[in-house]
């Protein structure tokens, strides 16, 4: 995105933001509460109309596209809250994730895509007929992720995928993100749990008060003493290895 400003009412929440997420990498957007991270996501996905600037994905200008058109262009999105259709079944949620992107696809194509997603989140596979609103927070998050993945997006936007999850679900969720990324999907995610997020991230962008304040490789971000004291509570990184070590860690956990 280039020189993008957006907000609610008269004021801009994000101002002149320019950022580039590398293709087929995981870019994490970090920042304090109220920095404008979710506003940035909503602008990218088209739910919030930008006032200035342009958004380009895979070389295609999507600035003036509606949210459904952006979804058709390959943009998948998992909101932090209200991320599943609560009164529809789990199976219907997954079907909706697929059928409005691939309108002419055959039933067996949907089932193949759905089964690939259910391999990532096996907890859901036995509950396809249950209403999504009966799921726990973690299971809803997984379903939301599954719905975004089932049409096979080229770019995935995740708004705090581990928010409110138990440690077990955090690991499952982030491993799924890493696995999706290994399949070539570009991932842009907001995450508060930075230590866990850095386990799978390649790059970090810091957003403060609606402006970009810096960009790091994930390891450099973890190693930066100022960053650690400000955002990680002074904690040391768990995985102080190379990129390849991080990826192999993901693979074993997946």
């Amino acid at each position: 995105m280039r020189d993008v400003s957006a907000g609610y009412g008269a004021s801009d929440i994000i101002a002149s933001v320019t950022l580039q997420a590398a293709r087929a990498r995981i870019t994490t957007i970090a920042g304090p509460n109220g920095a404008g991270k979710s506003t940035l996501m909503k602008t990218l996905v088209g739910l919030l109309r930008l006032r200035r600037g342009e958004i380009v994905i895979d070389g295609r200008d999507i600035t003036h596209l509606s949210p459904p058109q952006r979804a058709l262009a390959g943009l998948g999105y998992v909101p932090q809250e209200r991320n599943v259709f609560k009164n529809l079944t789990i199976g219907e949620n997954l079907r909706i994730g697929f059928e409005f992107i691939w309108r002419k696809a055959a039933e067996n194509e949907f089932k193949a895509s759905r089964d690939r997603v259910l391999d990532l989140f096996p907890d859901l596979s036995a509950r396809l007929g249950e209403v999504a609103g009966t799921l726990s927070g973690g299971q809803r998050q997984m379903l939301a992720m599954g719905c975004a993945l089932v049409p096979g997006p080229s770019t995935l936007l995740l708004d705090e995928p581990s928010a409110g999850l138990s440690p077990r679900y955090v690991t499952t969720m982030l491993n799924a993100v890493a696995a999706v990324n290994r399949a070539g999907v570009t991932v842009i995610m907001i995450e508060q749990n930075l230590i866990e997020a850095m386990r799978i991230s390649h790059e970090v962008i810091l957003l403060v008060a609606g402006e970009i304040r810096g960009k790091w490789d994930a390891q450099a971000f973890l190693d930066d003493p100022d960053v650690r004291s400000l955002f990680l509570g002074g904690a040391k990184a768990k995985n102080k290895g190379s990129d390849s070590e991080r990826i192999s860690d993901d693979a074993s956990a997946a």
């Binding site: 949210p67 909101p79 259709f85 529809l88 909706i96 059928e99 409005f100 719905c147």
Partner: protein, 285 residues
């Protein structure tokens, strides 16, 4: 038993506009006050096809449904879409305006005269002392079929899932690739077709005048609210309750108070369950 049978038929008749009201409420989150005027318009459209152009009622009824579906889309694009970001009270007032316009257009062309459809008179069916006239039989068959089609559409088709998804969370529906405007158009079209069929059946069972739809307004709203407004399946149950209560109450009090009885039932149900009978089924957390 005769009152119960009549109540069942009456409930099925109310069910169609009650479903229509629930569908549009679920998606647009406002109560469409023009539902009565839409019923009236449906009756007059069938009258035009049947009495003015000589089409048999079996052809006039679907023609009325198609034309009212198109009129509903035009109203959606011309009125409700223009003020889509307004609060639900503004939309409700706009729907009152639509009702006045529809009724007065009808009055302009057809006056306030009472009219009837050109249909052959048939003997009623008598079974074990129960009397079911031809029009009532048509109401049972048409209303049941229309409800079955709507249930199939909502549960089993892509359009139905889109409608339910938008009703559940419109923003999420859009990011999943659902075109909101197109789905809303379809919802109005279905709503128009259902109310037109209701109008035709009311006209079959009696007379046509510019107020026939308005006479059912309280009953339709009561049915939709009792069922849990926004829930089309609840609206059917609400309509059957209202139909049965209205008909059986006629055994004790004058039919003049029929709508008053609907209102009393509505108040009693809301006192016991403010969300309606099936309102709690919808998950909002």
């Amino acid at each position: 038993m005769q009152a119960l049978l009549n109540g069942l038929v009456s409930g099925l008749l109310i069910a169609l506009p009650a479903i229509a009201l629930s569908l549009t409420y679920g998606i647009l989150n406002f109560a469409n006050f023009s539902i009565g005027a839409m019923v009236t318009t449906g009756a007059y459209l069938a009258y035009i096809a049947n009495a003015s152009f000589g089409a048999p009622i079996i052809l006039a009824a679907p023609l009325a449904a198609i034309f009212l579906a198109l009129i509903a889309i035009v109203i959606q694009r011309g009125v409700y879409h223009q003020i889509r970001n307004a609060d639900h009270v503004t939309l409700l007032v706009a729907s009152m305006g639509v009702a006045f316009v529809l009724e007065n257009v009808i009055r302009f062309f057809y006056g306030a005269d009472v009219r009837t459809l050109d249909v052959p008179v048939a003997r009623p069916l008598i079974w074990n002392g129960l009397r079911l006239n031809h029009e009532q039989l048509v109401i049972v068959v048409v209303a049941s079929s229309a409800m079955a089609v709507v249930a199939f559409l909502l549960k089993r088709t892509r359009l139905g899932r889109a409608m339910r998804a938008i009703s559940d969370d419109p923003d999420l529906a859009e990011v999943r690739g659902i075109e909101r405007a197109r789905t809303v158009d379809w919802t109005w079209a279905i709503s128009g077709a259902l109310t037109a069929l209701a109008g035709v059946m009311i006209a079959l069972d009696g007379i046509i005048d510019p107020m026939i739809g308005m006479n059912y307004l309280v009953s339709v709203f009561a049915a939709a609210v009792i069922g849990g407004i926004g829930n089309p399946f609840g609206a059917v149950v609400g309509a059957l309750i209202i139909g049965l209560v209205e008909e059986t109450s006629a055994l004790a009090v004058s039919t003049t108070y029929r709508q008053g009885i609907s209102f009393v039932v509505l108040v009693l149900v809301l006192l016991a369950r403010p969300q309606g009978l099936f309102g709690s089924v919808r998950i909002r957390r």
